[in-house]
């Protein structure tokens, strides 16, 4: 436990003792507050049971599963190409990114690799879905803290990115574009110039949000020092993505593992922040959106020519074996453990989604905070219900 953790724990113990004294004197009793499943701050149907003393949280417990759709089981009765239509809907804001690790796992089992152009386009679409996803987070962050204006800017500018995804894949939210061995189609004409223009627009959006939120004293007062996750606690709870990098752990699967994707072909920066508080996590996400726009531009500069589909049999049978592939999705590490028995469909798929692990820290983090900070912390952890419940 580092110093910050100690301080938080001591503050909690001290507050407990003080409250106990007051309770003995006044015989006050606590109150159990149900935050959710229907609550504007839970992005869907997460339920948090909080035991309150006044405005202070004594303990809190997330209760998930209100939107469980059974994707792991459903994949067992689908063929491999059909599975992508399902797993699109896990993290519904960055859906293309959900397809990639599954397809890579299937390709790994079959021993094939997508042609370079397909790898490049996959990476570009992956980063576009990250931009679409996280830019909405940046707007939503304002709403959670009471500023209603940024979310409209986010919805306005995310639309440009969704148009790009639609232009390339035909689907705005659920592209279902990835195929085993490559992609369904090549990029349409004019798409590359359009993308460059949109990337410039998204950088302007980032500047706008930075001026509107991150430069605001009230925003800083609400987020700095709130919900501090020390480095080792973050590692113990298995956090990933910006939540982990916000605690100062320099860990990004895009850079740290070898995959048939194009990230290692260009230069880019992994952002980290030493503080581990809500501000750090939000700041990291802002920087990552900006970095992603540069990644997309650099990939467009070096886009190779050639086919977008490798030679694969018409009816795909994945040979017997097991494969684990994880990628750095917008919300964090997302991985698929695919077990195949040589049939048309997978025998078993284990989905490791980022949000489920990220919210596991909630009981630890919410002890001793005030009710408004619950919202700040939940917003800064950034989960998507589909990604928790699957």
């Amino acid at each position: 436990m580092t110093m910050l953790g100690d301080r938080q724990q001591l503050a909690y113990i001290a507050s407990q003792a003080a409250d106990a004294r007051v309770n003995v004197e006044l015989e006050t009793e606590g109150m159990t507050l149900n935050i959710g499943p229907q609550h504007p701050a839970t992005h869907g149907t997460l339920r948090i049971i909080a035991r309150l003393d006044g405005e202070q949280v004594l303990w809190a417990e997330p209760s998930c599963g209100y939107m469980h759709r059974g994707y792991e089981k459903l994949t067992e009765v689908r063929t491999f190409p059909q599975v992508t239509a399902l797993i699109n809907r896990i993290d519904w804001l960055g859906s293309f990114a959900n397809e990639v690790p599954f397809i890579l796992a299937a390709e790994q089992l079959m021993g094939i690799e997508a042609p370079p152009r397909a790898q490049w386009i996959r990476t570009i679409l992956f980063e576009l879905s990250r931009i679409a996803n996280v830019s909405l987070f940046l707007g939503d962050l304002g709403v959670q803290l009471g500023a209603i204006t940024p979310v409209f800017f986010a919805f306005r500018d995310r639309e440009y990115v969704l148009n790009l995804i639609e232009g390339a894949t035909g689907g705005r939210f659920h592209p279902n574009f990835d195929r085993i061995g490559g992609l369904k189609d090549d990029l349409p004409a004019g798409w590359i110039d359009e993308t460059r223009a949109v990337m410039r627009k998204m950088r302007k959006f980032c500047d706008e949000i930075e001026g509107l939120l991150f430069g605001n004293e009230i925003f800083e007062a609400r987020t700095r020092g709130i919900g501090v996750i020390p480095r080792d606690v973050a590692l113990q709870y298995g956090l990933s993505g910006a939540n982990l990098r916000g605690s100062g752990v320099d860990w990004d699967l895009r850079r740290d593992q070898k995959l048939p994707m194009a990230w290692d072909k260009i230069d880019w920066k992994v952002w980290t922040h030493p503080d581990g508080d809500s501000y750090a996590r939000c700041w990291i996400r802002l920087q990552e959106v900006r970095e992603s726009t540069f990644i997309v531009e650099k990939l467009l500069d070096s886009l190779p020519s050639g086919p977008v589909m490798a030679k694969v049999p018409r009816i795909i049978k994945v040979p017997e074996g097991e494969a684990w592939v994880a990628t750095e999705n917008p919300l964090g590490e997302m991985g698929y453990y695919v077990v195949s028995k040589g049939e048309l469909g997978p025998f078993r798929v284990k989905i490791r989604s980022a949000s489920f692990n990220n919210i596991s820290i909630v009981p630890w983090l919410l002890k001793g905070v005030y009710v408004p900070d619950i919202i700040t912390i939940l917003a800064s952890l950034y989960f998507i219900l589909g990604d928790i419940d699957r």
Binding site: M31, P40, G142, G146, T149, F153, I218, A221, P372, I375
Partner: protein, 350 residues
């Protein structure tokens, strides 16, 4: 004008005043909702706002009121019904009581009350009572939290507001709002009377503190923790629907308008134009046409001040309850005490 008022019977005078009061509360409230809540907010957020009802959506508010009036009057099963029902009325009545002392022209006032400032600050805190009992009687945990937050916040911000106004009272030497207006417009800055002497120049600190306190009294962002849609789901208003919610809604914006009117009287010279322009010397020599132009001037100043209130509301995130209390007790109150001290010293010196 005075002769005209005096020549009609007392009951008719009273009726005129009540009707005038209703207009003075509801007209600004409707205008504020349309111009700022519907249109300005939309333009700030790169959208158009209501466009269908009437030209540029100007009748949208009537459509909304019609919708609210049709809704069923619901109350929670375990609510304290009588208290639950009268809570919005208490909030709105505080607004009507507040407008009673606001002068709109040399003769266009509802009551010419000697302790007008004192009265205004006293009745403005009645709304706290309504909000507190609304939160308590709803039998809802979110409402309870919202109501208690509102009580703590409104009491904390009452004090800087009173202290900020004391500077004006010291400078004007009167608590009568009408005479405060006259003192500003008949005054002069170092002998130059082309602008009168609006107290925003001398009481600038007081004006800023007053506007911050008004923002908190109105529970507008960044001080909207009692409502806080994203955490308390509208706080003390959670369980209200239909016309009771409508009353809360009107009360919120009408109070914004009335507080802006009071701020314009205290700091911006109220209904008056500098008396030197027309050679007036006292309130008795002001021409009668000011009774028509005065309300328009007041309305313009009110819209300007409400614009600032709404501008802040739409662009800032909200404070946390403890940060807000700290801000009130550690920053605003000491600052306003210093302001009072400086005003007193300068008053004696000049």
């Amino acid at each position: 004008m005075l002769g005209l008022i005096a020549s009609i019977p007392y009951w008719a005078q009273s009726l005129l005043r009540v009707l005038g009061g209703i207009v003075a509360v509801l007209l600004p409230a409707g205008t504020i909702v349309y111009v700022f809540l519907f249109k300005m907010m939309s333009f700030m957020q790169s959208r158009l706002g209501p466009m269908e009802a009437g030209p540029f959506g100007s009748l949208q508010l009537f459509a909304e009121v019609g919708k609210w009036l049709q809704k069923e009057d619901l109350y929670p099963e375990r609510a304290d019904r009588f208290i639950f029902k009268i809570a919005p009325l208490i909030v709105l009545s505080s607004t009507f009581l507040l407008v009673a002392v606001v002068p709109f022209g040399p003769d266009a006032w509802f009551t010419d009350f000697e302790a007008g400032v004192f009265y205004a600050l006293a009745v403005s805190s009645v709304s706290v009572l309504g909000i507190l009992i609304a939160g308590w009687s709803s039998a809802n945990k979110y409402s309870l939290l919202g109501g208690l937050r509102a009580a703590g916040q409104l009491i904390a911000y009452e004090l800087p507001m009173v202290l900020a106004v004391i500077g004006v009272v010291i400078q004007a030497g009167t608590m009568n709002l009408q005479q405060i207006v006259v003192a500003q417009n008949a005054g002069s800055i170092f002998g130059w009377d082309g602008l009168g002497n609006p107290y925003i120049l001398t009481q600038f600190v007081g004006f800023i503190i007053f506007m911050i306190a008004v923002q908190a009294e109105l529970t507008q962002t960044p001080f909207d923790m009692p409502i806080a849609e994203s955490e308390l789901v509208s706080g003390y208003m959670t369980e209200y629907s239909g016309f009771r919610f409508l009353i809360f809604f009107i009360g919120e914006f009408a109070t914004a308008g009335v507080f802006a009117l009071i701020a314009s009287i205290l700091f911006l010279g109220g209904w008056g134009v500098p008396f030197a322009w027309f050679g007036w010397t006292s309130i008795d020599s002001v021409d009668n046409w000011m009774n028509v132009v005065g309300p328009l001037i007041m309305f313009t100043k009110m819209m300007l001040l409400v614009f600032v209130i709404m501008w802040v509301r739409f662009s800032y995130p909200r404070f946390r309850e403890d940060q807000l209390q700290r801000f009130a007790w550690k920053v605003l109150i000491p600052l306003s005490l210093v302001n009072i001290m400086a005003t007193s010293v300068l008053k004696v010196a000049f």
